[in-house]
């Protein structure tokens, strides 16, 4: 029954036996961990952040940092880092459950670039001096990182990137441009794929460099996106001097490190908890609207559509956990990450379509100021309207960023079809 998906409280859902077993083997109790996370999200979210969560508004930089620091009071923000480096040594399963529960609650998106990407990179590829300098501020959210991968001519074809870093004495001189850099306007530092050597295979000659965005010669310019937000940027480098100590690994290790990061990014972007959260929004909207004498949620058309989404949701969640359990056991199926990326973005888009179709019945006002604060003056329709429409539009990019769905299908073709 479509309605039961959200009629059941999350606490009533039983943890799968396979998940419980894998958790026990990893030394934690999955059900108890979930319960702890749910209680935290229920009781510890600051009031101002809770208000924005309910209205689907955009969180400020300060709110995001405050939330991350609150999570770190329990050691959770960097729970997936090795114990030797200040983490709790979580495996993929515990990390996945953590992210799923935060998403279900609708808390602010964790800025992954530092905690999920650079932190693990430094643990695996960095030297002691780099770890000593950078890990603490990531853990404490006192330095904000962004990711410099894409360039105007190098999106899908990342290996063709051109940002040039030339060694001169104790420095690299960096010249060129990055683009689609998420939240660079809020960031202190950027980790970049740079070209240190021309010629040879394009994947060779790429290196991984840490650059202070406050350095002379760096310009950050926002890109206006159609969702009314300003969350991606162009970043220009004009003769920027970067100390050689900020090279991670050796020159030429960049591609290996990028693959390490991209693999993690794809597991996280399944966003199965967010899909659950959005399904909750859909059902609540449908139950408060009427079609003639009936609740809209009681119409055959809605129930069928909700059932379709439930099929998609259950299939994806089962697949995501199958992939996570594989990863937890130290095996990695190369197809899974791409599959999760494709289906995760498709599901989110499908739920947003259903939500927008419902909202459209009241008229699609888009009072963008309502994204950041209460609307001062007349408001047409539901208070969540600006936020939900913003999310709908933003979600169109979910099948584009982090390797487009076309690229993901290409990866599956290569691995599964042996072409």
């Amino acid at each position: 029954m479509a309605a039961t998906l959200h009629a059941a409280t999350p606490a009533q859902e039983a943890e799968r036996a396979a998940v419980q077993r894998a958790a026990a083997a990893a030394g934690f109790d999955a059900a108890r961990f979930r319960a702890e996370l749910r209680a935290f999200c229920r009781d510890q979210v600051p009031a101002d952040i809770g208000t924005r969560m309910r209205q689907h508004q955009y969180f400020t930089r300060e709110q995001r940092i405050r939330w991350q620091q609150l999570l770190q009071t329990r050691g959770w923000f960097v729970g997936h880092w090795p114990k030797a480096h200040g983490g709790q040594g979580w495996g993929p399963l515990q990390r996945f459950i953590f992210v799923e529960e935060l998403e279900r609650a609708g808390t602010p998106w964790l800025t992954h670039f530092g905690t999920s990407f650079l932190g693990p990179v430094l643990c695996a590829f960095g030297n002691d001096a780099q770890r000593a300098r950078f890990l603490g501020p990531i853990r404490d959210s006192t330095e904000w990182w962004c990711q410099g991968f894409s360039e105007p001519g190098s999106g899908s074809d990342l290996a063709s990137l051109k940002l040039r870093a030339e060694r001169s004495g104790s420095h690299y001189r960096v010249n060129g441009q990055k683009t689609w850099t998420t939240m660079a306007q809020w960031a202190d530092w950027i980790f970049c794929l740079v070209r240190t050597e021309a010629g040879g295979k394009p994947q060779q000659g790429i290196s991984f460099l840490l650059i202070n965005l406050k350095s002379p010669g760096v310009t950050v310019r926002p890109i206006d996106t159609f969702d009314g937000g300003r969350h991606v940027n162009e970043v220009f480098f004009d003769d920027v001097e970067v100390p050689v100590e900020h090279l991670v690994g050796q020159e030429g290790d960049g591609w290996t490190i990028a693959k390490f990061i991209v693999g993690r990014e794809r597991l996280l972007v399944t966003e199965i908890g967010k899909a659950w959260h959005l399904l909750g929004v859909l059902h609540s909207l449908a139950s408060t609207r009427r079609e003639g004498a009936r609740k809209f949620s009681d119409t055959a058309a809605f129930r069928r559509r909700a059932a379709e989404l439930e099929v998609q949701y259950d299939s994806l969640r089962a697949t995501a956990y199958a992939a996570v359990l594989e990863a937890e056991a130290g095996r990695e199926h190369p197809v899974d990450a791409s599959l999760l990326k494709i289906r995760g973005s498709e599901l989110q888009q499908a739920i947003h379509d259903a939500i927008t179709d419902l909202l459209a019945r009241d008229g699609l006002a888009f009072q963008i100021e309502g994204l950041h604060d209460d609307i001062d003056g007349y408001r047409h329709g539901d208070a969540r309207l600006p936020g939900l429409l913003h999310e709908h539009l933003h979600c169109r990019a979910a099948s584009i960023y982090g390797g487009s769905n076309e690229i993901q299908r290409g990866i599956i073709a290569k691995t599964a079809l042996h072409v």
Binding site: D157, F226, D357, D362, A365
Partner: protein, 365 residues
């Protein structure tokens, strides 16, 4: 319009779009206080577009088919002008009037550009745009001072340029819906404007004992207005489809990754071909249904429902594929692809949902 005239008209509109509606101009117009450029609106009138409403004679209103190129041009360049206040629903209501003088006067007001009219029918949460689920009511006062109208109307497109409003409300004397004319400056009328998902401006209207003139019965007028609005929205959607398909093809042709043009990938060619096929089908369908409208075909109601569903699906498919094929560029404000997507959402919200149309189709056969 014969074929030569039609061709000439389309060329004029294409030139107008090139000269008056590039991306920069589009942005500039949006920043004006009206949300559009009044001189563009005046220019359309000077080009003779408003004359397309001139009836051939009292018995024969101007053909809707003649307006299709205008709306397609509006769709392709994303015109911000409130076309609906002159060309769409109000004309259908006016053509329902039995009193020919009244018809003539209201139509002249539209054609001269002096009295554009807003169509105030929707109420929030009533779902279907063609249904009469109105809670607004109008009654004649005991003192005999004429009709007074009270209630709320939502999403009136272009409300702030209108000289008056055509309002659906319950005629309290008969207990049945009727159409009323309300002057924009009438006492007791409050207008709240806001931006919509397509960056256009609409308003919610509150009527509190507002003096009104009863025009005609409601059900037939609302059905005719909805049919006309649906067909014109479909014509606009065609313009969006053409623009989105053209831009996507050009983008893939120029964009090089992995050492070749993206258009060289067969998987992407097939995606574009599917988009093109849907455009072609909709072109044929729009023309056919406009013809049925002009000839008052008995099957018009079903044809309008079919059009509603087919165009909604094609428009959604094409605009989202266009965004996807443009990659990151598709979600920026720099290209019109993202604006097409947003305008498509708006168009799809104006005349009931496609689901409702499909349901209506399945209920009566």
């Amino acid at each position: 319009m014969d074929n030569d005239a039609l061709h000439l008209f389309e060329e004029t509109l294409a030139r107008y779009n090139r000269e008056r509606y590039d991306a920069v101009q589009w942005s500039d117009y949006g920043r004006l206080p009206q949300g559009h450029a009044p001189e563009r609106w005046a220019e359309l009138q000077a080009m003779g577009c408003f004359e397309l409403l001139q009836p051939e004679d009292d018995a024969r209103p101007a053909p809707l088919a003649d307006l299709l190129p205008l709306y397609a041009a509006a769709g392709e360049a994303l015109w911000r002008e409130p076309l609906a206040t002159v060309f769409a629903e109000p004309v259908a209501v006016i053509n329902q009037l039995a009193d020919l003088d009244q018809r003539r006067t209201l139509l002249d007001g539209l054609i001269s550009g002096e009295r554009p009219l807003g169509y105030a029918h929707r109420e929030t949460a009533d779902g279907a745009a063609d249904a009469i689920a109105t809670t607004a009511t109008a009654s004649t006062a005991a003192s005999g001072t004429g009709w007074r109208l009270s209630g709320d109307k939502a999403m009136v497109i272009g409300a702030d340029v209108c000289a008056g409003f055509l309002v659906s409300a319950i005629d309290a004397a008969r207990g049945a819906p009727a159409m009323f004319l309300v002057d924009a400056a009438a006492p007791g009328l409050q207008l709240q404007r806001y931006r919509c998902i397509d960056d256009g401006i609409a308003a919610d209207l509150r009527f509190d004992q507002v003096p009104a003139q009863r025009l005609c019965d409601g059900a037939a007028a609302v059905a005719a207005a909805n049919a006309r609005g649906t067909i014109l929205a479909a014509a606009e959607a065609l313009g969006i489809m053409r623009g989105a398909n053209r831009d996507s093809t050009e983008y893939l042709r120029e964009r090089r990754q992995f050492g070749q043009s993206l258009l060289g990938f067969q998987a992407l060619q097939h995606r574009l071909v599917e988009m093109l096929m849907r455009q072609r089908e909709c072109e044929a369908l729009v023309a056919a249904v406009a013809e049925a409208f002009d000839h008052a075909s008995p099957t018009l109601p079903r044809q309008v429902l079919v059009l509603r569903v087919a165009v909604a699906r094609a428009l959604r498919h094409i605009t989202r594929e266009a965004v996807q094929l443009h990659g990151g560029m598709g979600v920026t404000q720099a290209l019109r692809i993202g604006r097409y997507y947003r305008r498509a959402l708006m168009l799809d919200s104006l005349h009931g949902t496609a689901d409702q149309a499909l349901e209506a189709l399945s209920e009566h056969s």
